[in-house]
């Protein structure tokens, strides 16, 4: 394999592993802050116990998110130095703002929160929880503005052989970035709420700490219902934006080869990337693709064959990842809705509770798939329309990139296993008296 492919794999491994932990952090930090606020206001012990129990799982998760994030800050320099030099004027400043405005706040107050149970008043402790939650979500804003520049570059001019900033406001008001932010954060709340509901369901099935886990389950249920609704509805708007700004990605998402009006969506489809066609196309919904892309059943949707081969993203991965994401996006609101209807008699529906345990990985998978669509679908560009990924890689030896890739995968696998073991152990143990 060459440096380019090794570096892409390494970046994929580093971000995807990092992103196993980030979404839970974004969502559960807010929910824990809510629990603590309830404790500070009512003084009811159950809220403190909730914050402590979910907080313990949160800390294990948070630590893995933090340490794997360190690598990412430097990956652009180590493996993508040409990219860094070319767009650093814009992209680098966004990463630096993320660190100064958000990471400091998050990391300092996670220490305050962790060590402050007896040293701070419940109010001050709740405030530190909110600071952690706010800062985590603020970091999402900045990193998605940075990613937004890669997806839909704005506010720059090519000068001195590189992209230079000309309009900072355009960069930070990039519609792509804000759509991505809403999509990512609402999906993160899906991860967090399914996480809480799954673990609560496990305990409810065993009739352990029923009041505690019913309260937890319901809190997650209300927030989760809203999040799944937002992620799906806003996902449609997001799809419109993809159609408008990255038509090749849209075509790859649907394995849509021929330009046509009133384009259908096939419920069953198997793409053949080499043959530039689909092997199977069955169960068409007429005009649905046109509608999803342009809100108009008769709109023309450009097919992949009308893009130069060199400008097409990998079709199979983009297509499959999109299907997985949409499938999960359809299933999640249904699970939430059922829970909402039966919220007062949860324990009478053991099958539903069991399903919710097994549903825990779904939003995780959905997020990974969603990011695969976003990033693989952007190929062959590292910055859409501006710089190709193949022009961005560092002039390093393949052996270096290969060795670090192997070491990273090994290290992350071990850490992931240790983290999962701890999560399982403490999730099963249930709350201890605060």
């Amino acid at each position: 394999m060459d440096v380019l492919m090794l570096s892409r794999l390494q970046f994929a491994a580093a971000t995807m592993f990092h992103f196993l932990f980030v979404p839970l952090t974004l969502g559960i930090s807010v929910l824990i802050a809510c629990m603590e606020t309830a404790y500070a206001r009512t003084g009811k012990d159950v809220y403190k116990r909730m914050a402590k129990f979910w907080g313990k799982l949160f800390l294990i998760n948070f630590t893995l998110g933090v340490v794997t994030g360190i690598t990412l800050e430097f990956q652009f320099g180590t493996n993508w130095s040409r990219y860094s030099a070319y767009v650093g004027d814009i992209f680098g400043s966004l990463l630096a703002i993320e660190a100064t405005a958000a990471f400091f706040l998050e990391s300092t107050f996670i220490g305050v929160w962790h060590f402050g149970w007896d040293k701070l008043s419940p109010r001050a402790h709740a405030i530190s929880a909110w600071l952690v939650a706010g800062a985590s979500n603020l970091s999402a804003v900045w990193i998605l503005i940075a990613n937004g520049f890669m997806q839909n570059p704005l506010g720059y001019e090519i000068r001195n052989g590189r992209a230079e900033l000309t309009d900072f406001v355009a960069v930070i008001t990039n519609p792509w970035a804000w759509n991505q932010f809403v999509h990512t954060v609402s999906a993160s709340f899906c991860v967090a709420t399914f996480f809480i509901m799954g673990i609560s369901a496990w305990h409810l099935l065993r009739k352990q700490n029923v009041e505690f886990f019913q309260k937890s389950f319901r809190l997650a249920l209300y927030v989760g219902m809203a999040s799944t609704a937002i992620v799906v509805l806003q996902g449609h708007i997001h799809g419109n934006l993809v159609a408008k700004l990255q038509p090749a990605k849209l075509a790859a998402m649907e394995a849509h080869w021929e330009t046509q009006t009133n384009a259908p969506m096939y419920l069953l489809q198997i793409p053949d990337e080499k043959g530039e066609k689909n092997l199977v196309e069955a169960l068409p919904v007429p005009g649905l693709l046109s509608f999803l892309a342009y809100n108009d059943f008769n709109a023309e949707v450009k097919g992949l064959r009308d893009f130069p081969a060199a400008d097409r993203p990998p079709v199979s991965i983009t297509f499959l990842a999109f299907r997985v994401m949409v499938g999960i996006g359809t299933l999640m609101p249904l699970l939430m809705l059922f829970g909402l209807l039966k919220r007062d008699e949860l324990t009478s529906y053991p099958l539903y509770l069991k399903a919710m345990i097994w549903a825990m990985p779904l939003p995780y998978l959905g997020m990974q798939a969603g990011w695969a669509v976003t990033e693989v679908g952007r190929q062959p560009w590292i910055v859409y329309g501006l710089m190709r990924t193949s022009d961005a890689v560092s002039p390093i030896a393949a052996s270096q990139a290969g060795a670090s890739l192997v070491a990273m995968v090994l290290l992350y696998t071990l850490l992931g296993a240790a983290g999962a073991y701890l999560m399982f152990t403490f999730a099963r143990k249930g709350p201890v008296d605060a």
Partner: protein, 338 residues
Amino acid sequence: MLETIWFLLWGVLWAVYFVLDGFDLGIGTLMPFLAKNEYEKRVMYNAGGPFWDGNEVWLLSAGGVTFAAFPQAYATMFSGLYSALMLLLFALILRGVSFEFRGKVENATWKSVWDACQVAGSFLPALLLGVAFANLFHGLPINEAHVNTGGLFDLLNPYGLLGGVFFVAMFCLHGALWLSIRATGELKDRAMATACKLWPAVLVLVLAFLAYTFVNTKLFTNYLANPHLFLILVAAVAGLVMARVYLAQGQAWKAWGGSAVFIACVALFGVVGLYPAILISTLNPAWSLTIHNASSSTLTLKIMLGVALVFVPLVIGYQAWSIMTFGKPINSEHDLEY
């Protein structure tokens, strides 16, 4: 002018990073030598416990600011120091996780594995940072295309290694002083005694490093041209002396402050000596990356300056509050979280 301000800010970020992460890296390195039992080990983990994460963000910021203000230097530096940086990052990852994971399972093997991660994950970064900065002071074989043509083993030259050993000793002293603030009883006494023993070693190493720097690098050129800059070195020495004097009086906080001044001034001494280069090319001075050929556009530098002027004082404010609130003696198991 804007470039110069950013160059100095860049140096300040590294200096603050060394001062802050320096103490917890030092404590981690000293752990096998200082902790005699499980309780003392836990005290050592907890001594840096509330701070290590916030401290490490200074590294991210220093990296981020290199990217934002000097993108070409970021590109060359981190791709050129590829293997060393990966090693540093992996070590920091293991160390970070060891804080959180170690105490979660009551099993001797589990704990000793994380202890090993903590020690190696503290020692290696200290060593590598020293090696890296000594090599930056000396310069790297950077070619016309801004690519470092040297490999990992070229970094391990005698000057680089001396820099590494010096950093390890400096951070260990700093860590022992911080432990003197937070530990009580025998562990505190041991930490202070260790600091006393480390102090002459640090003194010898800093003198040796300066002498070697004088013959091996061009760092002193700026100083000889502007002798008042030697005040940085005077301040460094004053900080080191202050650390020893207050240590003898048993005033741990003030001794730690002296050590902090020393570390900050050592870092600034190097950065000011580099000016206006960020990365010196040993092949041809014209190929060096300087504030003139590696900086971002004026607009980016201005916006980032605004960001830095608002947030950096704020960060220093709340981190200082956190250090004041949590930097108190650990008296019993009750004070332990890790």
